[in-house]
């Protein structure tokens, strides 16, 4: 057992293996709990979409499909680089670990930038419910409902993404001071799980908000 692993062993655990598995279970239970947070919104969206599909299609038509698709690809790539970071943590390759963490952060920030650009476009197009919403066609109320869900769900996703970026930053710093080793790199693993979860959520958001609008443009 390396020194780092011994130092990282908390007093309530008997072995590093027990500590690692406990962390992993805790993380996954947390992920499922997070999933239930979004599930309520998905259910609400499904109910309203089902009762008025056409206004929701119109809402999807207002989405910027290029930016949305680029964002999807960005997040998928960032999950990939995060996985590579985990891979290098396992083999104790500090330099590559830091590099891949930084690439992941870069891709995540890019996503964030594009998302904020999109928000700005919606604002410009008067598509922000409550603050500045205008829609000339019929069923404006239902179109607004689409945007309410869009802003709540993507907003919540952005919050999760920002938390993820913060976690990554902590991981970069800890990697640089040599906190991780092939024996002990649980925090990197857990960050990877969280980051991929953020990706999973986005993939669903992309499917429900952007895809139905493609053929309208």
């Amino acid at each position: 057992m390396s020194e780092a692993a011994t130092l990282a062993l908390r007093e309530q655990f008997a072995t590093p293996r027990q500590q690692r598995e406990t962390a992993s279970i805790g993380m996954w239970v947390f992920v499922v709990s997070e999933m239930m947070i979004f599930s309520a919104l998905f259910v609400g969206f499904a109910v309203y979409r089902l009762s008025s599909p056409h206004p929701f299609d119109i809402g999807s038509g207002e989405m910027e499909l290029t930016l949305g698709s680029i964002n999807t690809v960005l997040l998928i790539c960032s999950s990939f680089t995060m996985a590579l970071a985990v891979y290098n943590a396992e083999s104790g390759n500090q330099r590559w670990l830091v590099l891949f963490l930084l690439i992941t952060m870069f891709l995540g920030s890019l996503f964030l930038g594009i998302k904020l650009t999109e928000y700005y476009d919606h604002f410009r197009d008067h598509k922000v419910p409550a603050l500045w919403f205008h829609y000339a066609g019929s069923s404006a109320g239902k179109v607004q409902m689409f945007f309410i869900f869009y802003f709540i769900m993507t907003g919540l996703h952005v919050i999760h993404l920002v938390v993820g970026l913060g976690l990554l930053l902590v991981m970069v710093v800890r990697s640089l001071v040599g906190a991780f080793s092939p024996e002990y790199h649980t925090p990197i693993l857990m960050t990877g799980v969280y980051w991929s979860f953020v990706d999973v959520i986005w993939i669903f958001l992309y499917a429900i908000f952007y895809v139905p609008g493609f053929h309208i443009k």
Partner: protein, 551 residues
């Protein structure tokens, strides 16, 4: 560490020894409490907090009962009355009942029952208390600013559009306290999976653990939905956009679906830990293994899972589809089966036992009785045709108070008395404790039984004034409430008194077979001087006959 001179053969007899180092006296000072990661100390912090909230909520209940003495409003205005029952509901549900057993007794004893040094994530555990307190402080702030008048259910569009009170603040407070539940749930699940003592397999775990496991599942899966639902209410109220408001194309029934998806399982959050405590007390005071252990363990899990499929039984007259109502009603009858199994198993545990009527046993048996009545009236409410008449009346009020007050609070008090020697190292005064247990039982029945009659008569809930023909029963109920209040205040005083002046408690005063009794009272900081190993079934009096001096 000072060595104990207790003879291991007689752990149930008190021996006066020099004060040992234990979790309570090892570190001193406020900071050692506020920064502690010891699950026992956090349990104590939670106990202090929920006790405070209990008496705040109880005070509101008292004012309500006083107001209801008269058919007309005489004590408070209807607006104030509405705030009283809302704040009573919010504080009792989210700041007392939900954390009452899992975060106090559960926090304190779950690791000990498992033979662990601590919970899996001690820092998260402390964080959960701070998060809980933050939520609680916001709730109290709401209270001071003038309260909320939406009812604890926050039904839209009243809460989002028509109420003029501090709905957003209350919703935020509840949402934040919800995260403390989620953290606790994650912590318990990880602990139960990976922190069990060597040899403790799943079917060697006491029911206390099984029930807390089931509770944690609900914590983790249901609470997030409440958080997000209340967030949507807050968003709708702040920005005046229509998520649930029909004027803007929303659907208020959707809110009810989301709310009850959490709030019905939340009822099981409240009652499963109570069942956990009772399943510990009854075997110990009957000196007999819990009858049908596996059935009881599985019924906890069944309640947790089927309990998620029944929420629509709150909405039979709310404009829900008839077929949906039927599905929910059917599921509700399914979830009643495991509850019935448990009641029968507790009763059967007493059969051919060696029963001692100490205070914890009085509370536990009181729980079985009151929970049975509460559960059976639940059958009335889940019968579709009857529910139409009795829903939203005092019948419902009586039903859920039988479950939550008659059930959870009885079990909580029973558990506090049962483990008091372990927590404080002192014995509580038995005679006055028995008196108070009986007072609670009688006062409770006098308070809430008349409400069943009121409900069938048709008195709607949340009425500040009511037709005169209901007065007699309301007066009875208020009389009962005053007795009940005395029964609740008594333990506060004699338990605190006994902490200082009580008789010194032995290691195992009840001669119980559980792991938490195999360590000194109060326990040392790391719970056990030697990590225990488990080699047999739970509640095994036979195997520990010698050690416990039983014949």
């Amino acid at each position: 560490m000072l060595e104990t001179v207790q003879t291991p053969s007689k752990p149930f007899e008190a021996v006066h020894t020099p004060v040992r180092k234990n979790y309570f006296n090892e570190k001193q000072g406020i900071l050692s409490w506020l920064l502690t990661t010891d699950h026992k100390r956090i349990g104590i912090l939670y106990t202090a907090s929920v006790t405070a909230f209990f008496f705040i909520g109880g005070f509101f209940a008292l004012l309500m009962r006083l107001e209801l003495l008269s058919p007309r409003t005489y004590l408070v205005s209807p607006e104030t009355y509405n705030k009283l029952f809302t704040m009573h509901g919010i504080i009792m549900v989210w700041f007392f009942l939900i954390p009452s057993i899992p975060n106090t007794l559960g926090n304190f004893f779950l690791p000990m029952v498992l033979g662990a040094k601590d919970l899996a994530f001690p820092k998260l555990n402390l964080l959960s208390w701070y998060v809980f307190m933050l939520g609680g402080i916001i709730a109290v702030y709401t209270l001071i600013r003038g309260g909320v008048d939406t009812g604890w259910t926050f039904y839209t569009p009243f809460s989002t559009t028509y109420s003029t009170t501090y709905v957003v603040a209350a919703a935020v407070g509840i949402m934040i306290s919800g995260f403390s539940s989620i953290i606790t749930g994650i912590n318990f699940i990880a602990t139960i999976h990976r922190m069990r003592a060597p040899g403790m397999t799943w079917f060697r775990m006491p029911i206390f653990v099984w029930s807390h496991y089931a509770t944690s599942i609900i914590f983790v899966l249901a609470t997030p939905v409440l958080a997000i639902t209340l967030m949507m209410v807050a968003v709708e109220r702040i920005f005046q956009v229509g998520i649930f408001d029909p004027a803007l194309g929303g659907d208020p029934v959707l809110f009810q679906h989301m709310f009850w998806f959490y709030s019905h399982p939340a009822v099981y959050i409240m009652v499963l830990p109570a069942m956990a405590v009772v399943s510990e007390i009854i075997p110990v005071f009957s000196r007999k293994p819990l009858f049908g252990y596996k059935a009881v363990a599985f019924s906890s899990m069944a309640i947790a899972s089927i309990g998620f499929l029944v929420w629509g039984h709150h909405m039979f007259v709310a404009g829900q589809s008839v077929y949906s109502s039927m599905a929910f009603s059917l599921m509700t009858y399914f979830v009643a089966v495991p509850s019935a199994i448990k009641v029968f198993n507790w009763a059967a545990t007493m059969y051919r036992g060696s029963i001692s009527w100490d205070t914890p046993m009085l509370y536990a048996v009181g729980f079985v009785g009151l929970f049975s009545i509460g559960g059976m009236t639940g059958l009335f409410l889940s019968a579709l045709g009857l529910d139409v008449h009795v829903t939203d009346t005092y019948f419902v009020i009586a039903h859920f108070h039988y479950i939550m007050v008659g059930g959870t609070v009885m079990a909580y008090l029973g558990g506090v008395h049962y483990w008091w020697p372990k927590i404080s190292g002192k014995m509580y005064p038995e005679f006055i404790a028995k008196i108070s247990a009986i007072t609670v039982f009688l006062g409770f029945n006098l308070t809430f039984f008349p409400q069943f009659v009121l409900g069938y008569l048709g008195m709607p809930r949340r009425y500040a004034a009511y037709p005169e023909e209901f007065q007699m029963l309301n007066v009875l109920s208020t009389a009962g409430a005053s007795i009940l209040g005395v029964g609740y205040v008594l333990p506060l005083f004699y338990l605190l008194w006994s902490w200082k002046y009580g008789k010194v408690a032995p290691e195992n005063p009840w001669r119980a077979p559980g792991l938490e009794w195999k360590t000194p009272s109060p326990p040392p900081t790391h719970n056990f001087e030697v990590t225990p190993t488990v080699s047999g079934l739970p509640y095994d009096f036979e195997a520990q006959k010698e050690e416990l001096n039983l014949v």
